[in-house]
């Protein structure tokens, strides 16, 4: 009986009533979201357009490990890469997601990787909407979706079968649970804390770069909330889970906690991010898209002027991902171009808020003008 109660929204009469009571702005917002969703998904269908999924970004390497897992029934401890015979460094969550879907459906892991790329890209669309809606509201979230659809950087990372794609879902999802946890007063280990811990743990096992972004964002947010014990713990608890889960995995897989010996650190894998692209750098303006930037500035002003609750979580995201993107300035020099994607993800959300602020302003102006001259 309870189950039926929980799906009351399926009641046709009530649904009709709900539709009839929608105001014009809500209807327009839904229309915009549907149109953007169609544009967003239609481009990503290209992933399945060829005889093989897009291969940039070691996508077929992941398929190899997935295939081996399916064939042997266990996640390999040894690598197939670079002549094989050494311990597997990669975290398993993304691969096990593909393996589970392949095993369940009988679809080849290469094809399943393509299908899951589209599904995860849709999840990115959904989670960015949910985060923005939770922070500011549905209209700002719809505006963020416009910038997401038009973002070259986010498009490039949502058309390839990569663990980072799952990271682009799990990272904002973890932040969403922290945002959604609006309890005041003393810290309570409630459902949202549990969900943020689970999401952080999955992120730790999804992608090491995403893990670093999430860890720094949570640490920066905790620092900004040092005087608010409740909010501080909402960031620290998933951060501890993130670090503990990853540490355990690395000790299990590599028998060490150190990452200083890995090739990415040793050979400084990664491309610097400059304002414009060159033979040696990725162009920030090319990847972020020019349109989002002025709206990001407006969004930041609007957030501060309206003193939006929990805006520091978004600021932490911006600061941490920017620091990681420019880690070459700190002499670290690793994966700057990969960290940029997370900075762009934050810019899109702030840009959406900026566009919402502009639309709100214009709408109010037009409203006043129409009211003053109704016959025109």
């Amino acid at each position: 009986m309870r189950m039926f109660e929980s799906i009351k929204w399926l009641n046709i009469a009530k649904t009709r009533e709900r539709f009839a009571s929608l105001d014009a702005v809500t209807v327009l917002r839904y229309a915009v979201i549907v149109a953007l969703f169609v544009l967003f998904v239609s481009y990503r269908l290209n992933v399945l357009g060829g005889y093989v999924i897009p291969t940039y970004g070691n996508t077929m390497y992941h398929v190899g490990i997935e295939r081996l897992t399916l064939e042997t029934g266990h996640y390999p401890t040894q690598e197939l890469s670079y002549n094989g015979g050494f311990p597997n460094f990669y975290v398993p969550a993304y691969r096990l997601l593909i393996v589970s879907q392949s095993a369940f459906s009988g679809i080849d892991p290469m094809v399943m990787s393509g299908l899951m790329t589209i599904a995860l890209a849709i999840a990115v669309f959904g989670v960015m909407y949910a985060f923005s809606k939770q922070l500011v509201g549905a209209s700002a979230a719809a505006c963020a979706l416009l910038f997401l659809t038009l973002s070259p950087g986010m498009t490039i990372f949502t058309i390839r079968a990569l663990p980072e794609l799952l990271g682009l879902v799990m990272f904002p999802l973890t932040l969403f649970f922290i945002l959604k946890n609006r309890t005041e007063g003393h810290f309570q280990f409630n459902g949202y804390v549990a969900l943020s811990v689970i999401a952080a743990a999955v992120t730790a096992l999804t992608h090491q770069i995403t893990l670093l972004v999430l860890a720094l964002v949570l640490a920066v947010y905790a620092l900004t909330q040092i005087k608010n014990r409740n909010e501080f713990l909402k960031a620290i608890v998933p951060l501890v889970a993130l670090i503990a889960v990853y540490g355990l995995w690395q000790v299990y897989s590599l028998h060490t906690l150190s990452i200083l010996g890995i090739a990415q650190v040793k050979y400084h894998e990664g491309t610097p991010v400059d304002f414009f692209a060159s033979a040696f750098s990725v162009g920030f303006f090319d990847e972020a898209g020019l349109l989002v930037l002025p709206f990001t500035a407006i969004g930041l002003v609007w957030l501060e002027r309206n003193k939006v609750d929990k805006r520091f979580l978004l600021y932490s995201w911006l600061i941490a991902s920017l620091l990681l993107t420019k880690n070459d300035l700190l002499g670290i020099d690793i994966f700057m171009d990969r960290f940029l994607t997370f900075f762009i993800e934050a810019l899109i959300i702030v840009g959406g808020i900026g566009a919402f602020a502009v639309l709100q302003f214009l709408d109010a102006r037009i409203g006043r003008a129409v009211e003053r001259n109704p016959e025109t």
């Binding site: 014009a24 702005v25 327009l28 229309a31 915009v32 149109a35 953007l36 544009l39 481009y43 290209n46 060829g50 005889y51 093989v52 999924i53 897009p54 291969t55 940039y56 070691n58 996508t59 077929m60 390497y61 992941h62 398929v63 190899g64 295939r67 081996l68 690598e79 197939l80 890469s81 670079y82 002549n83 094989g84 050494f86 597997n88 460094f89 990669y90 290469m110 416009l146 659809t149 038009l150 973002s151 070259p152 498009t155 490039i156 058309i159 390839r160 590599l254 010996g261 890995i262 090739a263 990415q264 090319d286 990847e287 898209g289 349109l291 214009l362 709408d363 037009i366 129409v370 109704p374």
Partner: protein
Amino acid sequence: MVRLARNLIRISFLVVILLLTATYGMASVQKQADPWLDPVVTKGEFDSTSWIEANTPPTAHFEADIFGGELIMGMTTRIPIVGGDWSNALNPIANMNASQQIYQTPSAIEAYTLCKQYNLTYVFVPLNRLVFCGFGWISINATKFDNSEYFKLQYSNEDVRIYQVA
């Protein structure tokens, strides 16, 4: 009436924004993102993986470039000299150098010696594209692989030849 006028303005504005997004905006995104959809490997190379799966031992090691190696890994779980995750590899730069040298050298004996040194049992030779072993795109000097003293042709189609190291 006022409400209708206001909504008409809202609708017109959003229609213009969506049309601009669908046309100019998406064209710009496509220009940037389309190259990343490139499969790099050719149809014939992809087709050859069925032969590899059916005719080579599961532990076979392949001379291939990064894209060919990852294709072989992905479709057959065979082991390439380069490609995949290099984070924990013993000496990935040496593997890249060896792979590139095997493709580039005109000397069959040098290529054969390197194959033996790296325990490679097969050589994957793409015919219709450049290869990337880690240091840039290069063309293959393929004629040396026809020296049957060192390499035995096992499979070929319009896009690829696969040799067994003698």
